[in-house]
């Protein structure tokens, strides 16, 4: 758990560089790890991998569908390919290949979706994936991750490289707020409890985790104690933790850098609807396309801020108290 009064400090290292460190570590542990790129190695930070392991790095060009199915073929021969593109292309352009060549075929492929959600910033709406998790979440057996900070990405990627299966990992490329101390351990599929609280549960992912912690600070000043979960595994959802938290606090707010349809909010709503129907609200993009702007502008524009989480928290607490 983090400090009781969280202060948002950006990491000095860009997340893509932390990711490349993680991929290099995975490659050093396992000689079967390969890096496949679709002309975005500059944007996604895999250039150092290519420099260190030129024989295990392949820039396949601007052909994401082919890259994904070739990755499946490499997996047939025992390799562990990591395929890199922006989240928009890694989901929308590769969807059928992820389904058939990878998941249905029972192979071992890791798909990286860079520039997730508002982190696409000035690339604008065409490049702003608010739907990637929704596109992929109903594919059987797929595991979906959103690493929260550099410590997590460095811990998570080498683990995923050793676990057979098809994983999709979405993340920003630039610096993100540091949440975890060095050495923190993460188990895929298990949410991290960041803050204890009994009045409301905030379940967040990605860049909304730091907003959730800031929201918890603000709520505490008004006497509201929020439990905060970092739900970095969107699928399979940590249903046990989500349901127990909902039962403990009696109401839930989700917060995500994604459309509220199809992502973390939907996954949590499904779990709560079945096992612990409590008042809930989803903070996220309200079924809108992205647009051009800085990440800061876009977080304001799409109401992804701590104040938005606080508002939602107060409303679900009021609904709980009306019962």
């Amino acid at each position: 758990m983090t400090d009781r009064f969280f202060q948002a400090q950006p990491d000095k290292q860009d997340m893509r560089d932390a990711y490349c460190d993680a991929l290099l570590a995975a490659a050093e542990q396992n000689e079967r790890v390969l890096s496949l790129n679709c002309d975005l190695s500059g944007s996604l930070g895999t250039g150092r991998f290519c420099a260190q392991f030129p024989e295990r790095s392949f820039n396949l060009g601007i052909m994401e569908a082919n890259a994904c199915s070739m990755a499946a073929g490499l997996s047939v021969t025992g390799y562990v390919p990591f395929v890199h593109s922006f989240a928009v292309f890694s989901s929308r352009r590769m969807a059928d290949q992820i389904f058939l060549s990878c998941a249905y075929a029972g192979l071992n492929v890791k798909i990286i979706g860079g520039d997730a959600g508002v982190s696409a910033a000035v690339n604008g709406g065409t490049h702003m994936a608010f739907e990637d998790l929704g596109v992929l979440r109903s594919i059987v057996g797929l595991r979906l991750f959103e690493p929260t900070d550099n410590v997590m990405v460095k811990a998570l990627i080498p683990q995923l490289a050793t676990q057979y299966g098809v994983d999709y990992i979405r993340m920003p490329r630039r610096s993100v707020v540091k949440i975890y101390d060095e050495g923190e351990r993460f188990t895929p599929g298990e949410a991290k409890l960041l803050r204890e609280g009994s009045d409301v549960t905030i379940i967040a992912s990605g860049v909304l985790v730091s907003e959730a912690l800031l929201a918890a600070n603000a709520l505490a000043e008004t006497g509201i104690e929020a439990r905060v979960l970092d739900c970095f595994t969107i699928q399979p959802l940590d249903t046990k933790c989500v349901v127990e938290s909902a039962r403990t606090t009696g109401c839930v707010v989700t917060a995500e850098n994604h459309n509220i349809i199809g992502g973390l909010g939907s996954a949590v709503a499904e779990a709560l609807g079945e096992f612990a129907p409590v008042p809930m609200e989803r903070v996220g993009v309200k079924n809108a396309f992205g647009e051009v702007g800085s990440q800061n502008y876009l977080m304001d524009r799409f109401n992804l801020r701590a104040k938005d989480i606080c508002g939602a928290a107060r409303r679900v607490i009021a609904r709980k108290n009306e019962r």
């Binding site: 024989e55 295990r56 392949f58 396949l60 060009g61 052909m63 569908a65 082919n66 994904c68 199915s69 070739m70 990755a71 499946a72 073929g73 490499l74 997996s75 047939v76 021969t77 025992g78 390799y79 059928d96 290949q97 389904f99 058939l100 060549s101 249905y104 075929a105 029972g106």
Partner: protein, 283 residues
């Protein structure tokens, strides 16, 4: 009486076993299964380096049937070669089967890659070829595409990628049977596959798709190539060798009765004896 060589007999047995399997299912992708029976007979009749008793043998040659809907013909070839018991063919497309409509590497011994969404198999085959090269193996990767399948853009992504990486152990076939589900390829979106693949830097040529010696010869030529992948375009007839399918223009997927199957099997045996197998006197 005509002397029937082993590969010709294998191709006839692949046709007969496929027709019987689809007859028991009641329906199936007969047209495109018939037109690949001959290349399958060449591949499994000795051309491919495989061990039927050890389907995952690491030193084997691979086959990706990118036109995955013609799985039944491949299942017949695999069963005839001893990958699994012949009576499995009675279960094609039946609930719970290990021989589903489209190829599934998790269900069937000897199936190297799951296919069924057209265009993906050739990319997967390129990936397998790249992986084998990284491991220093000389195994070949064969891939069978349909001519209608060439309409999928992913085929040409794979063609460009395979040529760029000089995947010379990748040997593709195009089953040029000239028809797709809705009609003639030329009417829907055609073009010469040989010219297209040559434009993409591949070694490409066309042979008669039921000339077993010619197919075998071109596989040997392709296997000696060092600079580029190769494609052998098989000029075929959709439904060839299966009398009821030959009579039907729309033979991509047909309902098949026992009477139809009996007649077709008898006709195959007659053509073999008459020396006009597989195409018949009219071809």
């Amino acid at each position: 009486m005509t002397q029937i060589d082993v590969k010709t007999r294998l191709s006839a047995d692949i046709r007969i076993s496929t027709i019987r399997a689809l007859e028991r299912a009641g329906f199936g992708h007969i047209g495109g299964s018939m037109s690949i029976a001959d290349v399958l007979a060449v591949l499994y009749g000795g051309e491919m380096r495989v061990r039927p008793q050890e389907p995952d043998w690491p030193e084997r040659d691979y086959l990706v049937l990118s036109k995955g809907h013609c799985g039944p013909a491949l299942y017949a070839a695999l069963a005839l070669k001893g990958y699994f018991p012949m009576d499995w063919l009675d279960t094609v497309n039946q609930p719970g089967t290990r021989l589903p409509s489209h190829c599934d590497r998790l269900k069937t011994p000897g199936i190297d890659m799951t296919t069924g969404s057209l265009g993906q198999g050739i990319s997967a085959a390129a990936g397998i070829a790249l992986g084998l090269r990284l491991q220093g193996k000389d195994s070949r990767v064969f891939c069978i595409l349909g001519d209608g399948e060439l309409q999928e853009g992913q085929v040409w992504e794979a063609a460009a990628a395979a040529e760029h990486r000089k995947l010379n152990r990748l040997i593709a076939f195009v089953d040029e049977n000239k028809r797709q589900l809705d009609g003639y390829v030329a009417d829907i979106c055609g073009g010469d596959p040989v010219e297209k693949f040559r434009a993409f830097g591949w070694n490409a040529l066309r042979v008669c798709g039921w000339d077993l010696a010619a197919i075998s010869r071109e596989i040997h030529v392709a296997s000696e190539q060092s600079n580029a992948p190769s494609v052998i375009v098989l000029e075929t007839i959709k439904g060839i060798g299966c009398s009821f399918a030959e009579r039907e223009l729309a033979n991509h997927y047909m309902v098949i009765s026992k009477q139809m199957a009996d007649e077709a099997v008898a006709e195959i045996e007659r053509r073999l004896l008459a020396g006009v197998y597989p195409a018949g006197e009219g071809a």
